[in-house]
């Protein structure tokens, strides 16, 4: 049913349709509306049988999910940023134990400095944990990805992170088609665990594994993600049969057929990029888009196929590998290694900085001309940065960096109004 609905609420409704049995939640912006909506559904009896547990920290949230999933219950939680880091030990534990927990990550920057707005640093900090990571472009895809995630995770017996941009998607009201319970039931069967704690058949889960077998166990996590590369497109196809729309999959391309310049990105910024590409195409530019939906497993083959015929590509990412450059860009580079393709990275939107169309128009033209920095930063205030670097050269007791930058910017804008 079509609804004009807040992204968080849509996701909550989608998750509820998947019949989770245990939901554990700790509040953190900007995921709060999701768990609040689910909590209300459980308390009101709409979502039953389901236990909703208000936990005392994100570490507890993931741990409760681990216990519940190991005991055979379909389990769900949601977090962001600091919360994801706080549960990091348990995140690795969940994938190491092969428990098919589904977790929404409402992508948000990691501090310090504390920042509640969107970028991809949180999810990407866990990219090697063994969790599958799927990125939604819009709220429809966010809902659809959760449904596919439960199915995918339970077939593989691995946990799945569904990533959606905090505030930009979670707090946006837009049109979403919420499926019916019948449709979801047809697509997602009851959870049939590969392993379960059961007094009738006692097993020990989580014992130590020595050097004799650790590599094999770890490899199997990798093998499962490689299986997912096959499974994700199959599940997307089945999704289309049941729900009637193309959604999710490994990657998507837009205006790519004869593109000489390709823009690669993940998440909601793809929407803005497509608008810019339409306008540039109308002006005769041969430019296209590659959107990555499945970040882990990383679809090396599909990325290579999408890029190998272009002349140059730009990875526009909301993440920064401090001391190196791009995170997504590094994975893309691996996909096209050996092709000799010219690749550029632009880091944009960190900490929720807006990515305006106008800036992208300018940037994409620079990429076409190959005059852009190999590793660039969109709309960075170089004056403020250089001022701070100079301050540090001059003075030993230069003070906290963040406060200095805010101070500089504050003074600058006050001067504007004189």
């Amino acid at each position: 049913m079509l609804k004009q609905i807040e992204g968080s609420k849509a996701v909550a409704e989608g998750v509820a349709l998947c019949r989770p049995e245990v939901i554990c939640a700790y509040p953190i912006s900007p995921q709060t509306h999701i768990v609040e909506a689910l909590g209300k559904m459980v308390k009101g009896g709409e979502l039953s049988p389901c236990e909703f547990i208000n936990v005392e920290s994100e570490f507890a949230a993931m741990s409760v999910a681990i216990g519940a999933s190991a005991a055979g219950a379909r389990s769900y939680t949601a977090t962001a940023s600091q919360g994801l880091l706080f549960m990091a030990e348990a995140v690795y534990n969940a994938s190491g134990l092969g428990l098919p927990i589904v977790m929404t990550v409402a992508n948000r920057a990691i501090g310090a400095p504390i920042n509640i707005w969107n970028d991809h640093s949180d999810a990407l900090s866990q990219r090697d944990s063994g969790w599958l990571q799927l990125f939604a472009e819009n709220n429809q895809e966010a809902v659809d990805l959760h449904i596919q995630a439960f199915r995918l995770g339970e077939e593989l017996s691995m946990p799945v992170m569904v990533c959606m941009d905090g505030f930009i998607l979670t707090h946006a009201f837009e049109r979403v088609d919420i499926p019916s319970q019948e449709q979801v039931d047809a697509y997602l069967p009851t959870f049939d665990p590969r392993q379960a704690l059961d007094p009738a058949e006692p097993i020990s889960i989580g014992a130590m594994v020595g050097p004799e077998a650790f590599m094999e166990v770890r490899y199997l996590a990798h093998a499962k993600q490689l299986q997912a590369l096959e499974m994700i497109p199959e599940l997307a196809k089945e999704f289309k049969d049941v729900f009637g729309r193309d959604s999710c999959g490994l990657v998507q391309t837009y205006c790519a057929d004869d593109a000489e310049t390709m823009i690669v990105a993940m998440g909601s910024v793809l929407g803005t990029i497509k608008d810019v590409v339409d306008e540039m195409r109308a002006d005769g530019h041969k430019i296209g888009v590659l959107g990555i939906t499945s970040y882990r497993p990383f679809p090396l083959q599909q990325v290579r196929a999408a890029l190998e015929n272009c002349k140059r590509y730009l990875v526009l990412e909301k993440s920064l590998a401090v001391g190196l450059g791009g995170i997504l860009a590094t994975d893309v580079r691996m996909a096209v290694s050996g092709t000799g393709l010219n690749g550029y990275t632009t880091v944009a939107g960190l900490g929720g900085r807006a990515i305006p169309k106008a800036s992208l128009h300018k940037l994409f033209r620079e990429v076409e001309k190959e005059t852009v920095d190999k590793v660039g930063f969109l709309d960075l205030d170089w004056e403020a940065v250089n001022k701070q670097l100079e301050r540090e050269r001059r003075i030993r007791h230069s003070g906290p960096i963040a406060e200095n930058i805010l101070h500089d910017k504050g003074i600058a804008s006050a001067a504007k109004f004189g």
Partner: protein, 187 residues
């Protein structure tokens, strides 16, 4: 509490259009000026940037106009709807409004209307009713449907009455000042 932008998006949705409403990207602490946005289109909206060039502004608290730069990027022929009992002259906004078309700037006592029909000084819903009349971007019927979707019983009745009164006041003002009727536009 539903913001005016969200309800506006619902009204547009009910007319079969695409709409995207979202809160400002600025500080979200209580007491800070809050700006929310809405895009309406006949095609799927993919754009995610903040609204850089608004076609219309709905001002719930004119005292904030000197604190937040809402007129940045505002189109000269855009609509401005201000919640106030004062006249434009009394509001001392001449400098801010000088490049706007005078027949596109309207005031409506939305807080008072809200207090009268809903019993609470909330201008959201009356402002939407006024917006429907002034711009014609949405129909009053859609605003009423949106209200019924969110509220019920006496609360819904009160909100509908408030929206309708604001609509009628603005419609009368429009006719009186000979404003051009607009049936299309983007917010």
């Amino acid at each position: 509490m539903v913001t005016a932008a969200e309800m506006l998006s619902v009204a547009a949705f009910l007319e079969g259009r695409f709409a995207q409403a979202f809160p400002s990207f600025g500080s979200e602490r209580m007491g800070a000026p809050v700006v929310s946005f809405c895009r309406i289109s006949d095609r799927e909206i993919r754009l995610r940037e903040p609204i850089m060039e608004p076609d219309a502004l709905i001002i719930q608290d004119p005292t904030l106009l000197h604190q937040a730069d809402v007129f940045a990027g505002f189109k000269d022929e855009g609509y401005v709807l201000i919640n106030t009992t004062k006249t434009l002259a009394e509001l001392d906004l001449d400098s801010l409004l000088e490049s706007c078309s005078p027949d596109r700037i309207c005031t409506v006592p939305a807080t008072e209307i809200g207090l009268k029909h809903i019993g609470r000084p909330i201008p959201n819903v009356p402002l939407l009713g006024g917006f429907a009349a002034v711009t014609g971007v949405i129909q009053l019927e859609s605003v009423i449907k949106a209200i019924n979707g969110k509220f019920s019983g006496k609360v819904a009745e009160g909100n509908i009455a408030a929206a309708t009164e604001a609509y009628q006041i603005m419609l009368a003002e429009k006719k009186a000042s000979g404003l051009a009727t607009e049936t299309t536009g983007r917010a």
